[in-house]
């Protein structure tokens, strides 16, 4: 039934249009440590690889220069950054201007709690050596820039299945 519509679309519809890009609520999700080393990066919009390193460096510089009294939301270029610090690791999420920053702030904490439950008191090394599992957790929670699941049991269920499969 949808084939008949394909003829009335413009030829260049393969690439994302600007309006589609701006709709992504979460643009990227980063975990960077204080020395500027990225421990996890997930981009929900396409960013060139050399621009990624620049973006990550700038973002961590912005976060490190904030003092204790300043709030966790930074206006950066044409979007917002929400960051939270856990020991030596910064979790930084880039969001659209229309997104609720406080909900994303809560999401970051939810993510860390899930990691805590899976790894039993997660540390930076856990994340480094188990990157694929951390990605699975993140992909359960956020799909294509939207929050889809926040319940810890449901997020971890596929991982436990995977672990059981790996054992056997």
């Amino acid at each position: 039934m949808w084939q008949k519509y394909s003829s009335c679309l413009p030829a260049s519809c393969n690439k994302e249009t600007i309006s589609e890009t701006n709709r992504k609520m979460i643009k990227f999700f980063l975990m960077v440590n204080k020395q500027g080393q990225t421990r996890l990066s997930r981009y929900y919009e396409h960013v060139e690889i050399h621009k990624r390193t620049m973006l990550e460096a700038e973002v961590i510089k912005n976060c490190l220069s904030r003092s204790r009294e300043q709030c966790s939301f930074i206006e950066y270029k044409d979007f917002k950054l929400v960051y939270r610090q856990y020991a030596a690791l910064f979790i930084v999420v880039g969001i659209n201007e229309t997104e609720n920053e406080m909900a994303v702030y809560e999401l970051i904490h939810n993510f860390v709690e899930v990691l805590d439950r899976y790894f039993s008191r997660v540390s930076e090394l856990d994340i480094m050596f188990n990157l694929d599992r951390v990605h699975i957790i993140l992909d359960e929670m956020v799909l294509n820039g939207c929050i889809v699941e926040t319940n810890k049991n449901r997020i971890l269920a596929p991982l436990f299945v995977l672990d059981k499969m790996a054992e056997s």
Partner: protein, 580 residues
């Protein structure tokens, strides 16, 4: 090569141990070369090791595009652990711009029909983040089938994937509308989250779908009410607020549905009021829900009482100790200030208190908000507070504060005397941070305030005598003394009765002329002022003539020219002077 093949943990350890960037780069390049070779050879025993190492290298920021075909190969493999890594690699390395992207279609299609729900889940996840418009159109039917019939975890993923499908191919919304109608009846939070997201996306893109779902507002409202009231399901609550993410999602949907429709907005008034009053705000989760409620109330056509409630909630946020909440409240109030000015006036004192916030970004927002709240009724008290702020604020804030105050004074001044007083105070405290046209506007203002000239000239003389460094003030003062210097000798009941000798006035202007702090425009003004005084003052003008003469050989062309011209006036046209 002779080196043993590195495992991923080994590689990570080596990279961590690299002392310099150059050592790390060399290590990574060697590893990349080895992986490229291994991929080319295509060893069936290789497994996932190469790709996982490549993903790590990609994380470090090195190019890893040569791994794309390996991803595609792995995700077509029948073994689950290989498939999983293949899909992960595809999500990280591939995107629509790559040629290899099209090859995904077949694999995803096959995996969507796979008997194992885990595999179906992987395929849905991949389609949901990488699918191009063409792929989405091809596979929409499959996704819809899975969203309707499959076991629970797969259904959830299918709904989430449908969001992406609808984004890429908006005309396919019709396919998913019936499913959403059914899923709205669900009680399980996992489904509701995805369903509400899908409905929101569809409504944002298609007015027909929006109209259709406007009928569903009572259901959404009911859901929200149940969440508020239902005590709590342990699993979903965060710090006493039941499933804040779902509440935020529902509120966002209500916002989309209620915008532009009187009737729909009315249907949600009660529930919005209920959520606004009952939500616990002791923790961030509750505040997030409350913030979303406020955003919804202000976006739809809610009852006036409700809008005032929203503004009051934001006012309460301003008093919170949590700086995130204050930041968010100030940003929202700034957006609302024109629409809800009267409701905001109640919170003036709180906004002014925020001027002393330790965070400079919040201070700036509080300043902008205070300036927006100025009106004819409150100008006197507010200006007082803002002047106090101007005195003590950091240098970066002085320009916006000064220009804002000057504009507001011009718009709302109750009388000329107050206006001039305020502008003089701004000039004194702002130093050199006054906007460019501030000086000329003040000069124009003074020129028009005939009856106040004695008072003004005395005050300016006093200010200049104290401090000749802030240029805008000095410029205005010298101009004024030049114009009305003769009034200094008169007594004035509004200012202190200080005796000012003509000699003192001339001495002051001389100081300004000779000070290294004075800019060329200031010197020019001072010179002209002296010249004017030569006609206004009674005493001897030789002193003036001497000073003007000196500047005839000044380095600055403008000053030199003026001095020479004035000298000419003294020498050749003295007979034109009017008798004093």
């Amino acid at each position: 090569m002779g080196d043993p093949v590195l495992t991923l943990p080994e590689l990570i350890r080596r990279v961590r141990g690299a002392r310099t960037q150059a050592v790390e780069r060399e290590l990574v390049q060697r590893e990349c070369a080895r992986i490229r070779g291994a991929i080319r050879v295509g060893d069936p025993q290789a497994g996932t090791a190469n790709l996982t190492k490549l993903l790590y290298i990609h994380l470090l920021g090195y190019p890893a595009h040569f791994g794309q075909m390996e991803c595609l190969k792995l995700l077509a493999s029948p073994q689950f652990h290989k498939k999983r890594i293949g899909y992960l690699g595809a999500a990280l390395l591939l995107d629509e711009r790559q040629d290899a992207h099209l090859l995904l279609t077949n694999s995803i299609k096959n995996d969507l029909a796979h008997p194992s729900p885990c595999v179906q889940g992987l395929a849905l996840g991949c389609l949901g983040c990488l699918g191009s418009a063409g792929m989405c159109r091809d596979l929409a039917g499959e996704v819809q089938r899975l969203a309707a019939d499959a076991p629970a975890p797969v259904r959830r993923k299918a709904v989430a994937c449908a969001v992406h499908v609808v984004r890429k191919a908006p005309e396919l919304s019709d396919v998913f509308v019936p499913i959403c109608d059914r899923l709205l009846q669900e009680r399980r939070h996992g489904f509701l989250q995805g369903t509400l997201l899908l409905i929101t996306e569809m409504c944002e893109r298609s007015p027909d779908v929006l109209n259709h779902f406007r009928k569903a507002v009572p259901q959404v409202v009911e859901m929200l009410r149940n969440l508020e009231v239902s005590g709590y399901s342990q699993e979903h609550s965060i710090m006493g607020v039941s499933d804040p993410f779902l509440q935020v999602r529902a509120l966002r949907l209500l916002r989309v549905l209620g915008q532009g429709s009187e009737e729909t907005s009315e249907a949600m008034n009660d529930t919005l009021a209920q959520v606004a009053t009952n939500t616990e705000t002791s923790h961030n989760a509750g505040s997030a829900v409350l913030y979303e409620t406020v955003l919804t109330i202000t976006a739809v056509r809610s009852a006036p009482g409700l809008r005032v409630l929203a503004v009051n909630i934001l006012g309460r946020f301003l008093l919170s100790r949590d700086r995130n909440i204050r930041s968010v409240a100030l940003a929202s109030l700034l957006r609302l200030v024109h629409a809800e000015n009267s409701a905001l006036q109640r919170h003036r004192a709180t906004v002014l208190a925020c001027l002393r916030d330790p965070d400079p970004a919040l201070q700036r927002r509080a300043l902008d908000l205070s300036l927006a709240l100025l009106s004819g009724a409150n100008i006197r008290t507010m200006a007082q507070e803002l002047l106090g702020f101007l005195e003590t604020c950091p240098p970066a804030m002085k320009p916006p504060c000064a220009s804002g105050l000057l504009l507001a004074a011009e718009r709302f001044a109750p009388n000329k005397r107050w206006h001039i007083d305020t502008v003089l105070q701004v000039l004194t405290m702002a130093g050199s941070s006054v906007p460019d046209d501030g000086v000329s506007r003040l000069v124009q203002l003074i020129g028009g305030a005939g009856e106040l000239h004695p008072y003004i000239v005395r005050r300016l003389y006093g200010a200049l005598a104290c401090d000749i460094s802030p240029q805008p003030l000095v410029q205005v003062a010298t101009w004024c003394i030049g114009e009305y210097g003769d009034l200094l000798a008169d007594s004035c009941e509004e200012a202190e009765p200080v005796q000012v000798e003509e000699g003192q006035v001339l001495a002051l202007l001389e100081r300004v002329l000779q000070s290294h702090l004075s800019l060329p425009p200031t010197r020019a003004l001072a010179l002209t002022a002296l010249m004017k005084l030569s006609t206004r003052l009674q005493g001897d003008i030789d002193r003036i003539r001497r000073i003007v003469c000196v500047f005839g050989s000044c380095h600055d062309i403008e000053l030199q020219q003026r001095a020479v011209e004035y000298n000419a006036l003294f020498r050749r046209y003295d007979h034109l002077r009017c008798p004093r």
